[in-house]
C-alpha cells in the first residue's frame, strides 16, 4: 500500500528536477536546425513565369528516384492518358493536376495577358522549317524569335515544341538556360523576403545592398526597365534565410555581398541577352 500523497510528492520532484534541467526549446531565428545538404525541402511542382506547371509528365524524376517514391499520371501531347507506377484506384488520385489531387485549388495563371501574347504563327513555322526542324537548330530558332519580339513569347515556344516535336520541358529548359529573355524587357522582379525569419537573419541589410546595387528603392524600376525591386513575405524560404527571389528562382542564404553578386550576374546575363538580340 502506498502512502497517500506519495504520488503528488513524486510528481512535484519531477517538475522540480525539470525546473533546473536543460530546456529543449529551439530558439528558432537564432538557433537553426542542421539541414542536410541533400535536403530538397517540401516537394512541389514548380511553375514557369507564366503560371503554368513546368511538369510535362516526362517521368524522368520517377525513373531516377532511388526509392521509387514517385508515381505520376497525366496527358501526353496527343491527349492520351499516360502514367507511371501503380494504377491509381481512387478517382481523386486520377486527376492530372497535382494540386487538385492534393485537394487544393489549381493555381490561376499569374499573367494571362502574357500567355495570350499574339505570335505570328506562320512566321514561326517558316523559321523552324528554314532550319530544317532539327532539334540542334533550337537555339538558332530562339535567336530568330527573340530578334523579332525582343524576347521568347510563350506561344512561340509552344509552337516550336509542337512543330519540332521536342518535349515542352526541353524547349522551355533550353530557353531558360541563358542568353534569352522569357519576359519582355523590364521583367526581372527582384523580391527581398521580409518574413520574420529573414528580417531577423539580416534581410534589411540585403534590401539596402540591393537598393544600392540597382540604384533604386523598393517598389521602383530601374531606368532601363531591366529590374524592379520589391519586398514580400511570399518567398517561402525560411530555412535558407535571408533569401531573395529573382522572378521565380530563390537564392539564399545570402549576405549583402553575395546578394549584390547574384543581382550583378543576373544583370550581366540580361545585358548580354539584349546585346545578342540587337547584334
Amino acid at each position: 500500500m502506498s502512502i497517500p500523497g506519495s504520488g503528488i510528492a513524486k510528481g512535484m520532484a519531477t517538475t522540480f528536477r525539470n525546473f533546473f534541467a536543460p530546456k529543449v526549446t529551439r530558439q528558432y531565428p537564432e538557433q537553426r536546425p542542421e539541414i542536410p545538404d541533400r535536403w530538397r525541402g517540401r516537394l512541389d511542382l514548380i511553375y514557369d513565369p507564366f503560371g503554368e506547371h513546368k511538369c510535362e509528365v516526362c517521368f524522368q524524376c520517377a525513373q531516377v528516384c532511388p526509392v521509387e517514391a514517385i508515381d505520376m499520371s497525366g496527358f501526353d501531347s496527343e491527349g492520351n492518358r499516360i502514367r507511371y507506377g501503380m494504377q491509381e484506384i481512387y478517382d481523386e488520385r486520377r486527376d492530372p493536376n497535382a494540386y487538385r489531387r492534393a485537394g487544393l485549388a489549381a493555381r490561376p495563371m499569374r499573367n494571362p495577358a502574357r500567355w495570350d501574347e499574339a505570335v505570328d504563327t506562320p512566321w514561326v513555322d517558316a523559321t523552324i522549317d528554314g532550319y530544317g526542324g532539327r532539334p540542334e537548330a533550337l537555339v538558332a530558332v530562339f535567336g530568330a524569335v527573340q530578334d523579332r519580339y525582343g524576347y521568347l513569347p510563350e506561344r512561340a515556344l509552344r509552337r516550336i515544341s509542337d512543330r519540332t516535336t521536342i518535349h515542352w520541358a526541353q524547349v522551355f529548359g533550353a530557353a531558360g538556360l541563358g542568353g534569352f529573355r522569357l519576359l519582355p524587357a523590364g521583367g526581372h522582379v527582384v523580391t527581398v523576403c521580409v518574413c520574420a525569419s529573414c528580417r531577423f537573419a539580416g534581410g534589411p541589410a540585403l534590401l539596402a545592398a540591393l537598393e544600392d546595387e540597382l540604384g533604386i528603392l523598393a517598389g521602383e524600376e530601374t531606368a532601363d526597365g531591366a529590374f524592379s525591386l520589391a519586398v514580400g513575405t511570399d518567398v517561402g524560404a525560411g530555412s535558407i534565410s535571408p533569401a531573395i527571389r529573382i522572378d521565380t528562382l530563390v537564392y539564399g542564404p545570402l549576405d549583402a555581398d553575395k546578394a549584390r553578386h547574384v543581382v550583378h550576374e543576373r544583370r550581366r546575363a540580361a545585358d548580354q541577352a539584349t546585346a545578342g538580340a540587337t547584334a
Binding site: 503528488i8 510528481g11 512535484m12 517538475t15 525546473f19 530546456k23
Partner: protein, 336 residues
C-alpha cells in the same frame, strides 16, 4: 475640525491608495512567475524576449488588455455585467487592508482582522456568481455556480482550520498573532493539521490548480470569464493573481511567523529599519508560497468536480473540527 480625525482619514486614504497601487506590480510579478516557472518546469524557456530575460512580459500583457476591445454580450445584464469585475477585484484589494507586511506597515490593524479578512475575501464569490449569471452564457453560468459551490464549501474548513490557531493565541488580530508567534514559536509547530487543511482549502478558495474548477478550460471554456474581454477580463485576471498573493501572505502570517525571521528577531532593530527587515522576510516567505502554488499547478491535474465537494465536506471539515477539539482541550488541560 478634529485634528485626530483628519490624521486618521489621511492615513486611511494613503494606506488604501498604496495598497491599490501595490496590487498592480504584485499581479505583474505573480503572473510573470507563473509563466516563467511553469515554462521551466515544462522544459521550455518561457517568455524571454521582452526586457532582460523577458521580465516585462506580464507588464506588456497588462497594458495589452487595456487596449483591447471591451464587448458586452447582446442579452447580458449590462449593469451587473459591468459590476462583477469590480466586486471580484475589490474583494481582493480590500482584504489586503489587514495584511501585516511588517511592524508598523499594516494598513488597518483591526482587533478582528482575521474575521474581516475571511468575510471580505468571501465576497469574491458573489462577483464570480454575478459574472456567470450576467453573461447570458451557459458556460459562464456553470462556472459561476461551480465557483459558488466550491468557494462556499471550502470557506468552512478554511475558517475552521484557523480557529485552532486563534484559540491558541487568544486573539483575532494579525499583529497580536505574530507577536504571539514571536514568543511561542511559529504556529506551524502548534497547528500542523490546521496548516494542512488551511493550505488545501486556500488553494480551492482562490481557484488554483488542482481546484480550478471555476475556469476549467477543457470543460467550461473560461468559466465566468468567458464573455469578458478587455480590461474587465483584466480585472478578473488581476484579482485572481492578487488573491493568490494574498492567500500566501495570510498563510505566512498565520502559520509561518509573518514578518519574523527564522531566527530571533533583533529587538534593537526598531523603527524604519525594523519595518524594512520585516518587509524583506514577509515578501520572501510569501513568494516562496506563491512559488509552491505555481509549482503545484505545473504538476497536478485538475480534480473531478464531484471529488472536490466530497473532499471539502467528508475529509477537511471533520479534520478541522477534530483539530479544533484537540486544540481546545489542550488549551484547557495545559492552560496554554
Amino acid at each position: 475640525m478634529d485634528f485626530e480625525l483628519l490624521l486618521g482619514l489621511g492615513r486611511f486614504v494613503l494606506a488604501t491608495t498604496l495598497l491599490l497601487l501595490l496590487t498592480v506590480p504584485t499581479a505583474f510579478v505573480v503572473i510573470q512567475m507563473e509563466m516563467k516557472i511553469i515554462a521551466q518546469m515544462n522544459l521550455r524557456f518561457g517568455p524571454n524576449r521582452i526586457g532582460p530575460k523577458g521580465i516585462f512580459q506580464s507588464t506588456i500583457h497588462g497594458f495589452k488588455v487595456l487596449a483591447k476591445e471591451d464587448t458586452v454580450p447582446d442579452q447580458a445584464d449590462r449593469s451587473t455585467f459591468t459590476l462583477a469585475p469590480w466586486m471580484v477585484f475589490m474583494a481582493a484589494a480590500m482584504s489586503m487592508l489587514v495584511i501585516p507586511f511588517a511592524p508598523g506597515a499594516i494598513a488597518a490593524d483591526f482587533n478582528i482582522g482575521i474575521v474581516y479578512f475571511f468575510a471580505v475575501l468571501g465576497l469574491s464569490v458573489v462577483g464570480l456568481l454575478v459574472a456567470g449569471w450576467a453573461s447570458y452564457n451557459k458556460y459562464s453560468l456553470l462556472g459561476g455556480l461551480r465557483s459558488a459551490a466550491q468557494m462556499v464549501s471550502y470557506e468552512i474548513p478554511l475558517t475552521l482550520s484557523i480557529v485552532g490557531a486563534v484559540v491558541l493565541a487568544g486573539t483575532l488580530s494579525f499583529s497580536e498573532l505574530i507577536a504571539w508567534q514571536l514568543d511561542h514559536g511559529w504556529l506551524l509547530m502548534w497547528q500542523p493539521i490546521g496548516l494542512g487543511i488551511f493550505y488545501v482549502s486556500s488553494l480551492a478558495e482562490v481557484n488554483r490548480t488542482p481546484f480550478d474548477m471555476v475556469e476549467a478550460d477543457s470543460e467550461l471554456v473560461a468559466g465566468p470569464f468567458t464573455e469578458y474581454s478587455g480590461m474587465r477580463f483584466g480585472f478578473f485576471f488581476f484579482a485572481e493573481y492578487v488573491a493568490l498573493f494574498i492567500m500566501s501572505a495570510i498563510l505566512v502570517s498565520l502559520f509561518f511567523g509573518g514578518w519574523l525571521a527564522p531566527w530571533p528577531f533583533p529587538a534593537q532593530l526598531g523603527g524604519f529599519a525594523g519595518t524594512l527587515y520585516g518587509i524583506f522576510w514577509f515578501f520572501l516567505k510569501t513568494y516562496i508560497f506563491v512559488f509552491i502554488a505555481v509549482w503545484l499547478r505545473a504538476t497536478l491535474p485538475r480534480v473531478r468536480v464531484d471529488q472536490l465537494m466530497g473532499m471539502a465536506w467528508k475529509v477537511l471539515l471533520p479534520l478541522a473540527l477534530v483539530n479544533l477539539f484537540i486544540t481546545a482541550i489542550a488549551v484547557v488541560v495545559f492552560d496554554l
